[in-house]
């Protein structure tokens, strides 16, 4: 069934118009897309942009030649979406929401931790966002994004070291 089906099979069925298959892919990748966007965009717009990424992916799915590459392809759409946001393609919609307004449970410490994480170089920031915010394990990050286990492991450990330094710096200041 869907729960056991491989991503490639789900992507192939979704290409034929099976929305349930795409729904399963959405459940599997929602945290990945959310993490990639959160590494680049204000929190207040991440949920909306995440939905847009999946809708874009659904409409472009027929153009995906290798269904086994769905994960990396979707991540690329999410990164492009974040870039477009800053190119003014999306900001013209004039977001009215106050920063952080939807994050009712966040504290000042949470906000500082997110700021410290966002201050890291992009490579480490994205991998750590998926691990520390979205709760994916290293092997899951590798499987979903198409990175090798070695790359993910290096990003996690080097990124964590930089994050410790950034948090210490915030603590001192």
């Amino acid at each position: 069934m869907d729960a056991d089906a491989k991503d490639a099979e789900l992507a192939r069925r979704a290409q034929l118009g099976d929305r349930n298959a795409f729904g399963t892919l959405y459940q599997r990748y929602a945290r990945v897309v959310h993490g990639i966007l959160l590494a680049r965009l204000p929190f207040a717009v991440v949920e909306d942009q995440s939905q847009e990424v999946f809708i874009t992916a659904f409409h472009r799915l027929r153009g995906l030649r290798d269904p086994a590459a769905f994960g990396g392809w979707l991540c690329a759409i999410a990164r492009t979406r974040a870039k477009e946001f800053y190119r003014g393609v999306v900001i013209e919609e004039e977001l009215k929401e106050e920063f952080g307004a939807t994050c009712v449970n966040s504290s000042a410490e949470s906000s500082e931790a997110l700021s410290a994480l966002r201050s890291l170089p992009e490579t480490y920031r994205e991998t750590l966002m998926l691990r520390l915010v979205e709760g994916l394990t290293g092997p899951e990050i590798a499987a979903r994004t198409g990175m090798t286990h070695g790359s993910v492991r290096v990003n996690l450990h080097r990124g964590m070291e930089l994050l410790r330094r950034a948090l210490r710096k915030e603590l001192h200041s």
């Binding site: 929190f43 717009v45 659904f58 931790a113 915010v133």
Partner: protein
């Protein structure tokens, strides 16, 4: 071996604590909303009604696109890249700016401002920037303190950033502008040219060059790749009120100057006291010989426009002539306000 960071095996109190802090930002499961539901055929039973509606819809879309295109070319919008900047005292993710709008960033905040169709300005941490003029032909900001990165493509003097002691007039360029609360500032240009002026004092800064400014004036522009010896001596010559220190600094800078510093020496020449001019002239003449029409006697006498022809030669020799500079400049057209 247990590695909690990698696969959640074992324990790591520090990582768990950070996870808990970041938990409020985690994705919350929700249904994907397909916002383009299939059309109901029943609604479109009448072909005439369909074409009338379609025509009206097309006209509305054209009108909306036309309005949106025009207004978006003029609109100035600010969007937080990172952190929680304050726009008009309120933490915001994104906002349209009006004249008087004030953007304040904390030590971890960054804001990107889209300046209509001119380009964009990035406000760096610990900065305060205000929009003080917004007309299609000119956008003017005031940097109270902090740092901005501006990337602008507009006619000369259409984009201006003021600071309390000097202002940067864009000539189609990319630059960093810093101004500290103690009243010191600097500009680093990476593309095009920027004119920095203060009262009737003016310095043109090309790509690859910088200039400093203080309440007492603007430094000659200097190449970012110049030697530290030359740069430090030149800034001491410019900044020191002590004549003997200035004289020593002048000797140091002349001995360490290379061809790339010719533009700085030419900048110094027309603003130096009479006693310094001969040394500057002779060193510059060694590095980039003066054209025939530039008379040493006229330059040393401080005659107006005596060294004009030398600018073209120096710019050509240093490759500065290839940097795009738009249109003729007018001295101080808008200062003081």
């Amino acid at each position: 071996m247990n590695d909690y960071l990698w696969d959640r095996t074992g324990r790591d109190a520090e990582v768990e604590q950070i996870e808990n802090l970041l938990a409020p930002y985690r994705h919350i499961d929700q249904q994907l909303e397909f916002r383009e539901p299939p059309l109901s055929p029943a609604k479109w039973a009448s072909r005439r009604y369909y074409f009338a509606s379609a025509t009206a819809a097309v006209l509305i879309i054209v009108a909306v696109i036309s309005w949106h295109t025009t207004s978006s070319k003029q609109r100035i919008t600010a969007t937080a890249i990172i952190g929680a900047p304050r726009i008009d005292e309120v933490p915001m993710a994104s906002a349209s700016l009006d004249v008087g709008s004030r953007i304040e960033t904390g030590f971890l905040d960054r804001v990107r401002i889209q300046v209509g169709d001119m380009g964009w300005v990035q406000v760096e941490p610990d900065s305060i920037l205000r929009l003080i003029e917004n007309r299609p032909e000119r956008r003017r900001f005031r940097l109270e303190h902090g740092e901005i990165l501006a990337r602008i493509s507009a006619p000369p003097a259409a984009f201006i950033v003021e600071t309390p002691v000097a202002r940067a007039i864009d000539l189609g360029c990319t630059y960093h502008l810093r101004f500290s609360q103690s009243g010191e500032g600097a500009i680093e240009v990476t593309e095009g040219w920027v004119e920095v002026d203060r009262g009737f004092e003016q310095t043109l800064v090309p790509a690859g060059a910088s200039a400093n400014f203080r309440p007492r004036g603007i430094s000659p522009s200097y190449m970012q790749k110049t030697s530290p010896e030359f740069r430090d001596a030149m800034l001491e010559w410019w900044d020191s009120p002590n004549p003997s220190l200035r004289s020593t600094a002048l000797a140091r800078l002349l001995s360490s100057a290379t061809k790339q510093d010719a533009y700085t020496l030419l900048n110094m020449l027309h603003r130096s006291p009479p006693e310094d001019r001969a040394g500057i002239y002779d060193r510059l003449n060694q590095l980039v010989p003066a054209p025939r029409e530039v008379s040493r006697a006229a330059v040393l006498a401080g005659e107006a426009r005596a060294e004009d022809a030398w600018w073209t030669v120096v710019e050509r020799e240093l490759g500065l002539g290839n940097i795009k500079k738009k249109g003729p400049l007018q001295l101080n057209p808008y200062w003081p306000q």
